[in-house]
C-alpha cells in the first residue's frame, strides 16, 4: 500500500511539473492539417517528448523486447501475455460495470474466474478456448463513455500518446496491474518490467508496419491514437460526421474542405473521381 501511495505521489508531482512546463511551452500552432492538428496545441513540446520516447525505445525497449521474443520460447511468452491479460480483464470487468454494460461485465468476470482457476492464475486462456470473448475497457474509455471529451493530445515520457482525458485515467489504468498485489518492491519492479517488455514484444510487428507506412511518425501516431481511442469509446461504432472530439468550427474551416470531416472530403473525392480524371483539376 505504501508503494502505491508513493507511486501516486510521484504521479501527482509529475502531472503538476508537466503542466507547468507545458504551460510555458504551449504555442498554439496554426492548424495546417487534418483533425489531429487541432487537438494538438502543445505540438512543439509533444514532439520533444516523442523524440525522447523514440530514443528510449530504440536503445532500450525495442532491443529488450526483441531479445525477449528471440530467447524466450513462444509458449512461455504466451503464458506471460495471458497472465497480464487476465489482470487486464479484471480491470475491464470493473470498467464495464462502471459503464453499465452488464453483459460484457458478466462475461469478463466469467473470463477472469475461469482463467484464474482453470488457467492456473491466468497463464492459460481457457476462457477464449471455450468461446467467452474479451471486452476490453479501461478507465479512459469509461470517462469517455461518461461524456468527458478527449481534450488536447499529450505525449508523456515513458507512457507515450495520451489525451487530457486519458491522462486523468492514466494513474488508475497503470495501477491496475498484477504488480499492485505484491508488497515486495523489487518483485513489483520486476513484474512491471516484464509487463512492459511483454507489451512491447507484442507490438514488434505493428511498429515495423508503422515505420513503413508513416511519412511523419509523430503525426501518424497522433492521428491514429486519437482515432482509435475515439473508436474504442464508441465500441467500434464511432459516428462519422465528426473527426475526433474536436469542437466543430475552427477558424480554418473557412477554407473549403480544410477541416474536412469525412463528408466534405468524400464529396471532394467524389467530384475528383468523376468520369474524366483531370477534369476538375487546375484552374
Amino acid at each position: 500500500m505504501k508503494q502505491f501511495r508513493r507511486q501516486r505521489r510521484f504521479l501527482a508531482l509529475a502531472v503538476v511539473a508537466a503542466s507547468l512546463v507545458l504551460g510555458g511551452c504551449a504555442t498554439v500552432q496554426q492548424a495546417r492539417g487534418g483533425p489531429g492538428q487541432k487537438l494538438d496545441p502543445w505540438e512543439n513540446w509533444n514532439r520533444k517528448v516523442f523524440a525522447f520516447n523514440e530514443g528510449l525505445d530504440t536503445y532500450v525497449l525495442k532491443p529488450a523486447a526483441t531479445a525477449y521474443a528471440n530467447v524466450v520460447p513462444q509458449p512461455v511468452r504466451r503464458g506471460v501475455d495471458n497472465f497480464f491479460a487476465n489482470a487486464a480483464d479484471a480491470w475491464s470487468a470493473i470498467n464495464n460495470i462502471l459503464q453499465g454494460k452488464g453483459q460484457a461485465a458478466f462475461e469478463d468476470v466469467v473470463r477472469v474466474t475461469t482463467n484464474s482457476f482453470f488457467g492456473i492464475g491466468g497463464i492459460f486462456d481457457v476462457a477464449s478456448e471455450i468461446g467467452i470473448e474479451r471486452h476490453k475497457e479501461d478507465f479512459g474509455q469509461t470517462l469517455g463513455r461518461w461524456g468527458f471529451g478527449a481534450g488536447a493530445y499529450i505525449v508523456w515520457p515513458l507512457f507515450g500518446p495520451s489525451t487530457v482525458r486519458d491522462s486523468i485515467a492514466l494513474p488508475l489504468d497503470r495501477a491496475a496491474s498484477p504488480a499492485l498485489l505484491i508488497n515486495d518492491g523489487r518483485a513489483q519492479f520486476g513484474l512491471t518490467a516484464l509487463q512492459v517488455i511483454n507489451t512491447r514484444a507484442n507490438l514488434l510487428g505493428a511498429t515495423q508496419v508503422l515505420d513503413d507506412i508513416a511519412l511523419d511518425k509523430y503525426t501518424f501516431l497522433r492521428d491514429a491514437y486519437l482515432q482509435r481511442r475515439r473508436s474504442l469509446v464508441y465500441d467500434g461504432n464511432a459516428p462519422d460526421a465528426d473527426d475526433g472530439d474536436a469542437p466543430p468550427a475552427g477558424p480554418e474551416s473557412a477554407a473549403p474542405g480544410a477541416s474536412a470531416p469525412t463528408n466534405a472530403a468524400s464529396s471532394a473525392a467524389a467530384a475528383a473521381s468523376s468520369p474524366t480524371p483531370g477534369a476538375s483539376a487546375p484552374r
Binding site: 495546417r32 501475455d81 510487428g205 482515432q227 468524400s266 473525392a269
Partner: protein, 213 residues
C-alpha cells in the same frame, strides 16, 4: 428507304450492345459488398497460407498477390484524392497521377508487410447496419487468430464496375483520415511536389523484411 433501314438497324444494334453491357455491369454490381469482402479476404489468406516462399519472407511475392487479388477492387483515385484533401484540386493532372502512383506503391508495400505476418488467421464478417439500396456501405470484419481479434473495416462504394473499396479501418483507425494530416503537413511545408518527392523517396527504400512476431 435504305438509309433509314440502316439507321434503324444500327440503332437497334447500339441498344442491344448497351443493354448487354448494362446487364454485364449489373451482374458484377449485384455481388453484395459483404460477399465481395469475404471472398477477397478468404482468397488472399488462403493464397498466403498455401505459398511457402511467402513464409520464408518473400515480400515481392506478397506484393504481387495484393496487386492481383486486392487492387482490382480498390478505387485508388478516390482514396488518393481523399487523403490529399483540398490540395487535390490544386494539383495538376500530372501531379495527381504521380501522387496516385506513389501512394499506391506505399500502401501496397505496407499492406504486404502486414500480410507477411499472417499465420493462422481467419476473417469473419460482422453484422453491418447498411440498407440494401445504399450506394456506400461500411463492411465490418474481424481477423481472428491467436490473441485478440483485429478489427478490420472497409468503406465501399457502388460503381458501374461493381463495389470498390475506398477506405480501410484497422483497429479503429481509418487510413485516409490518418494520411490526411501527414499529407497536408508535407504539402503545407514543401508543396505538392514536396509530397511526391517524399513518397518517392520512401518507396525507393528496400522492401521491408517481415518482423519476427
Amino acid at each position: 428507304m435504305l438509309p433509314n433501314r440502316t439507321t434503324a438497324w444500327r440503332a437497334w444494334l447500339t441498344a442491344a450492345a448497351l443493354g448487354l453491357s448494362f446487364s454485364l455491369a449489373q451482374a458484377q454490381a449485384t455481388k453484395a459488398p459483404d460477399a465481395l469482402i469475404k471472398e477477397v479476404s478468404t482468397d488472399v489468406l488462403d493464397s498466403l497460407r498455401a505459398d511457402k516462399s511467402i513464409k520464408q519472407g518473400d515480400v515481392q511475392k506478397v506484393i504481387a498477390l495484393v496487386d492481383q487479388k486486392v487492387m482490382p477492387h480498390v478505387d485508388f483515385q478516390r482514396m488518393t484524392s481523399a487523403s490529399v484533401g483540398r490540395y487535390w484540386r490544386e494539383a495538376t493532372p500530372e501531379q495527381q497521377k504521380q501522387l496516385q502512383e506513389q501512394f499506391k506503391i506505399l500502401l501496397v508495400r505496407t499492406y504486404s508487410g502486414a500480410l507477411a505476418q499472417v499465420q493462422d488467421q481467419t476473417v469473419e464478417l460482422k453484422p453491418s447496419r447498411s440498407n440494401p439500396d445504399d450506394k456506400e456501405v461500411v463492411i465490418r470484419t474481424e481477423v481472428k487468430g491467436r490473441g485478440d481479434p483485429i478489427q478490420l473495416d472497409y468503406r465501399l462504394e457502388q460503381t458501374p464496375n461493381g463495389w470498390k473499396i475506398y477506405d480501410v479501418n484497422v483497429l479503429g483507425v481509418w487510413l485516409v483520415q490518418s494520411y490526411r494530416s501527414s499529407f497536408a503537413q508535407e504539402i503545407g511545408a514543401n508543396g505538392v511536389d514536396g509530397l511526391i518527392k517524399k513518397l518517392t523517396e520512401r518507396n525507393s527504400r528496400p522492401a521491408p523484411a517481415p518482423a519476427k512476431g
